[in-house]
Amino acid sequence: MEVRVMASPVIRTAATLMAALVTLSACATANAPSATSTGSATAAAAVQPTHPVEFVISTAPGGGSDIYARAMATIIENKKFSPQPVTPLNKEGGSGAVAFQYVFEKTGDMHYVMITLNSFFTTIITQKLSFKATDFTPVANLALDPFYLWVNEDSPWKTAQDFIDAAKKDSLTVAGTGTKQEDEALFRRIEDLMQTKPFTYVPQTSGATVAAALAGHQGQVVATVNNPSEGLQLYQSKKLRPLCAFTPASPTTAIYASLPTCKSQGIAIDDYFIMRAIMAPPGLSQAQQAFWVDVFKKVYDSDEWKKFMSDNALDPAFKSGLEFRQFILQYQQLHQNIATKFKWVS
């Protein structure tokens, strides 16, 4: 890892700079005690938290990540998985940039963990932030949230192939969460793979408003790639229906059991999910990292989390250590490719 004292527009405080330099030495010697911008050297060197922990959430209260993070924090709290309280804290803004910067500056301090989704890659790349996704200490991935292709109940399209045929004729208006984020990334992949006309992409504020836009024909929106949990309510009220799932196999959740995969209908994408992953500030020692991996493994194994995952049609996927690092590298590359191909970065 290199410390880039870059010509970035970000005015960095002396403390951050110092912390970043310390990271360098910490990385070189793996378990060197590291001073932090906030805590004392003893606090940072400890292998478990000595005061309350902030669980940073990069979205506003009520968003997808927020719900997942609060469910996790509640399990940690109720089951006493951590010796110190783990308190959720929303640091929304800039599609996650505010939260990432905040946690990045807590170098070497294990009293911060953060829930991340794919904006952890897209935002860092497109906003050209001064750090990389790989600079953070990876803890674990707890679940993969699949994408489904959704249309309005009254849509003439019955299969994914119908949708692709229509998309080849006209530029379709589609909606998703945020610009240059995971939903748009998936639509651009479809556009690229299936050689459709470019989609007109309308950014919305949250998964719920994306589903609402499709259900209400707002602004001529004809398709979305909502997660199963986001579309569930409007599917039950017969306003929306899924055409296919971007997964390797058909879903197992009862209500979606008969849904075919998109791959089987001609859109060969089955490797793209929203990660629900935990990251920690850069420069944690191996013991500190192991502490958090252990806590979140216990969360993952709890009955409460299992029920939560099945309620929300999430795919269980615990990844830590080397496997998680490889996953991070793979997703970083995937998003970098999309960003370059569709000129998200100038």
Binding site: T74, T209, G219
Partner: protein, 518 residues
């Protein structure tokens, strides 16, 4: 009718002792959260979310998920009422939706010396607004929520334009000054992050500015600090003596009398607030500004607005409380939260293991109807508590200004700090305190600035979404009947001052005061 049976069952659930006890605790907590500036209803509900898991899983005798939602929603009801108290007494908004109460609530309390009347007016209209909204909720929740889905970007944009227009066309100050303040507000709203292009904007490379300039520290500065500077200059004279000496419930009866004179306004604002609340993502704050604009538009004595006009309290307050209740409607029926606070309550549902949506009505009727019944009871409880507190609260205004001033400054600073635990918000408050003082001296209206700052982001987003959907053609706004009507109405409102001037010139008379402000 089936609904009455369901509702009766709901009341049976809500009146269960544990549910009533938790409702009482919740509304008191909500009132406290509402009074504290910076700690908003949304964060208050979010902070207490972990506790509800214990409640939902039966840690209290007889409690279940219904108790948990009654508790969370109760905090919201308390905060809806309580947020106005500091607005009226100290000119500091306790909650975003109480910002609009600064325009007339504080002037009525301070300049006209009627804090009790101002508070009581706010509470009675809140209660009536909530009542209307809850009745609509009880009978028409699902059809209205489905109708609201059809409200696209063009229609929403038209609604925002209309609420801006009500502030320009009918302002007491010079219209150009209102326009200048609107422009400044929009400029401030643009700071941070461009959600459509996904790029940083006007933040001078500062990550801390990426989340934008929040309007709460700005309004605390403009109104709270700005007013103190102005008062200090006047040496705070001539208002302590004015405070009415009555310390009884007379103010409450007076407020009810005022309400009866404005029944049509309050009821229509409550209905409009309800529809606005059901639209996803806007909620009580936007509704309160719209309610203020409408109150002003329909009023016969527009020149009294900004100087302590009771319609300027009742109109927005009825709309805000109504919208607050209504924001639960799309959340419960469709899983689409109508406001940030209801988004957090929805997070609670997921964590307790419930799925919102139409199935909820079938699978968990106790839960849904218990909640609906608790909305009636919660508001009644909050209303009674607030009315009993009016004389005590009004007494605070009799404390000499020299003592209260430092207290207000401290509360302002703490309030803006506690918003995000960031010093940046404190600096914003202080800077806007100075700006507010200067604007006051120059006789610029502050209301349009605040409205533009609050609604600017949403309006811009809807505008750009509509333009993307319409492939860049502005004619897209005239595709739908509703948005066409609203936009035409807005244009007419803006043109009113212009027409007035021209007419006055033709007659050779002096232009009206509204235009020729010295």
């Amino acid at each position: 009718m089936e609904v009455f049976g369901d509702l009766a069952g709901g009341f049976a659930t809500a009146l269960h002792p544990i549910n009533m006890a938790m409702l009482f605790v919740a509304v008191v907590l909500g009132l406290v959260i509402g009074v504290l500036p910076g700690l908003g209803g949304t964060s208050g509900v979010a902070i207490l979310l972990p506790i509800t898991v214990f409640i939902a899983h039966g840690s209290l005798p007889g409690s279940d998920a219904t108790t948990a939602i009654i508790f969370l929603a109760g905090i919201y009801w308390g905060a809806l009422f309580g947020g106005v108290i500091t607005s009226i007494l100290f000119n500091i908004p306790g909650e975003p939706w109480a910002v609009v109460l600064l325009f007339d609530g504080f002037p009525l309390a301070k300049r006209l010396g009627k804090p009790g009347l101002a508070l009581a007016s706010s509470f009675v209209s809140s209660f009536l607004g909530a009542l209307v909204s809850t009745i609509l909720f009880t009978f028409f929740a699902l059809p209205i929520a489905l109708k609201a889905l059809e409200f696209g970007p063009a229609e929403l944009f038209a609604v925002f334009v209309l609420s801006f227009a009500t502030l320009i066309g009918l302002g007491a100050e010079a219209p150009m000054k209102s326009v200048a303040m609107l422009a400044l507000g929009l400029l401030l709203a643009a700071v941070g992050f461009d959600t459509v292009t996904g790029e940083q904007r006007l933040n001078f490379g500062q990550i801390s500015l990426l989340s934008g300039i929040s309007f709460v520290p700005v309004t605390i500065g403009l109104f709270g600090i700005g007013e103190i500077l102005a008062s200090a200059e006047e040496q705070g004279i001539g208002f302590v003596e004015n405070i009415s000496a009555r310390l009884g419930l007379q103010d409450v009866f007076a407020a009810v009398g005022e309400l009866r004179k404005r029944l049509r306004l309050v009821l229509s604002n409550a209905v409009i607030g309800f529809f606005f609340g059901v639209l996803p993502g806007h909620g009580a704050t936007a509704a309160s500004f719209l309610g203020y604009g409408l109150a002003r538009q329909y009023s016969k004595n527009k020149e009294n607005f900004g100087k302590g006009e009771i319609s300027g309290i009742m109109g927005p307050q009825a709309a805000a409380d109504s919208a607050g209740v209504a924001s639960l409607v799309p959340m419960i029926t469709l899983g689409i939260p109508g406001s940030p606070t209801s988004a957090v309550i929805m997070a609670g549902l997921f964590i307790w293991g419930l799925q919102p949506g139409p199935v909820l009505f079938i699978q968990h009727p106790d839960f849904v109807w218990g909640l609906i019944a608790s909305i009636y009871l919660g508001h009644l409880l909050t209303f009674i508590l607030c009315l009993l507190a009016v004389p005590l609260l009004a007494m605070i205004m009799r404390v000499p200004y020299a003592i209260i001033t430092p207290f207000i400054v401290v509360i302002s600073i703490i309030g803006s700090y506690s918003l995000n635990n960031s010093m940046l918000d404190v600096f914003i408050t202080v800077i806007f305190g100075l700006i507010g003082y200067w604007l006051r001296k120059m006789k610029y209206p502050l209301a349009p600035l605040v409205v533009a700052l609050v609604l600017g982001d949403s309006m811009e987003r809807e505008l750009r979404k509509a333009l993307i959907a319409g492939h860049g053609s502005p004619l897209y706004f005239f595709n739908s009947g509703l948005s066409t009507v609203l936009l035409v109405l807005a244009i007419v409102l803006v043109l009113i001052p212009l027409v007035r001037t021209i007419r006055a010139r033709r007659r050779g008379a002096a232009p009206p005061a509204a235009v020729a402000h010295p």
